[in-house]
């Protein structure tokens, strides 16, 4: 009996030991797993961006591009995020929505900017989406919702245009898991605080949009895809407590007004 137990334990240890020893090798690098994953993500990002680019008009006017770019660059600098990874696009659409696509594409609808009372509100939403990108939520969601095999078949051109369109639509109009949304909210608060921006307006924005009396209700895509806005606003406020610092807006007031005026035209 003792012999069997000791031999059994040695066998288990031998297996675990072999596994442990083999795990010391950087197989991901040897098999270039990361490179393949990156390439898939890059291709998917291009495919989905193409869908939105063809459906809506991209706003390329200097005041709009420069203002959004200064905000994003500011967040990246303050939070040590690689700015070159993010590709920000402003699309002319009245929906109040912003969403992330694979490979760092971040789409902001003009409706969101126009409905933000101040730049901090917009900053909160942008930071929330940057957090989704940084935490790799987009690819996680895609793999979970439609599966790796379909994703790979998209990148190799074996999937129909309709599937790509539907998936792109899913990314723009459905929320992530509740836990992923919370992670992104918390991360967004961190980003805002480090960038010396007050996170409270972000919570206010959620409160404001959760109010059904709001005139823009029918365009509230971002809020309808992000349920429990009130609860979210509450934990954002809770989490921001004690993090106050010397808040300073990124854009000058007249730049912010100019941005809105430009979009209204």
């Amino acid at each position: 009996m003792k012999k069997s137990i000791s031999q059994g334990l040695i066998t288990i240890l031998l297996f675990l030991g072999t596994w442990y020893a083999l795990a010391q090798v950087d197989w991901m690098n040897i098999f270039k797993v990361q490179q393949v994953t990156d390439k898939t993500e890059q291709k998917l990002g291009e495919l989905f961006w193409e869908v939105f680019k063809n459906a809506e008009r991209e706003i390329k006017s200097t005041p709009v591009v420069n203002s959004i770019d200064s905000m994003v660059t500011h967040f990246c600098k303050a939070n040590l995020i690689d700015r070159s990874k993010l590709k920000i696009h402003v699309l002319d659409k009245e929906d109040i929505n912003a969403f992330a696509l694979p490979n760092g594409h971040l789409i902001v609808y003009s409706g969101l900017i126009l409905n933000a009372s101040n730049q901090e509100e917009l900053a909160g939403v942008i930071c929330h989406e940057i957090a989704h990108i940084e935490l790799n939520h987009v690819m996680k969601k895609l793999v979970k919702e439609i599966g790796l095999s379909v994703l790979i078949s998209m990148t190799t051109g074996n999937s129909g245009a309709e599937v790509i369109k539907e998936t792109a639509k899913m990314l723009s109009s459905t929320a992530f898991d509740r836990s992923l949304e919370k992670d992104a909210d918390i991360k967004a608060v961190d980003y805002l605080v480090k960038a010396n921006l007050n996170p409270k307006p972000f919570a206010d924005f959620l409160y404001k949009l959760s109010d059904t009396e709001h005139e823009a209700t029918k365009y509230l895509t971002w809020i309808s895809t992000h349920p429990d806005s009130k609860a979210r606003a509450e934990y954002i406020i809770e989490y921001s407590k004690g993090k106050e610092s010397a808040y300073k807006p990124i854009l000058a007031n007249d730049t912010w007004e100019k941005l809105k005026a430009e979009l209204e035209n």
Partner: protein
């Protein structure tokens, strides 16, 4: 790892053939069972039940074949479900996962070679006791 031992009696020709077949059974099942490790186990289990009233030599080897399959089932099932979770959930491929596949492959290969060797030896009527599984079989399988 593998010991050639004197069995308590000299097995007859028919006994040696049936005992050898229990290992052969698991080898054949590997072809079907590669994607689904449980198939190997079921095959050896059916063979085990079919021969549980047979002679001591046959019973002994059927038990050893079954036990070795059980351990492989554990290793392979873990790898199998890990792979499934990578394909269908947000689990990602890591160096740890690849290392596990290699470790599992190494143990499966060792078991495969040992099984082929044992199939040949038992067919000749030679008693082969494996490391761990041999002593475990001695505990479970007693002469009538």
């Amino acid at each position: 790892m593998i010991n050639l031992k004197q069995f308590s009696y000299e097995p007859g020709e028919h006994e040696a053939e049936t005992a050898s077949n229990s290992y052969l059974m698991s080898l054949i099942a590997i072809i079907v069972g590669l994607p689904l490790p449980i198939v190997n186990l079921i095959a050896t289990l059916i063979f085990y039940y079919g021969n549980r009233k047979s002679t001591y030599f046959v019973r002994w080897h059927c038990t050893q074949a079954l036990l070795s399959q059980l351990s492989m089932l554990l290793i392979n099932s873990f790898g199998f479900w890990w792979t499934i979770s990578i394909i269908f959930t947000d689990e990602t491929i890591t160096s740890k996962y690849i290392a596990y596949l290699f470790a599992a492959l190494f143990f499966n290969l060792t078991e495969f070679i040992a099984t082929i060797y044992t199939t040949i030896q038992t067919r000749k009527g030679i008693h082969v006791e494996w490391w761990f599984f041999g002593s475990l079989t001695n505990l479970i399988c007693k002469p009538n």
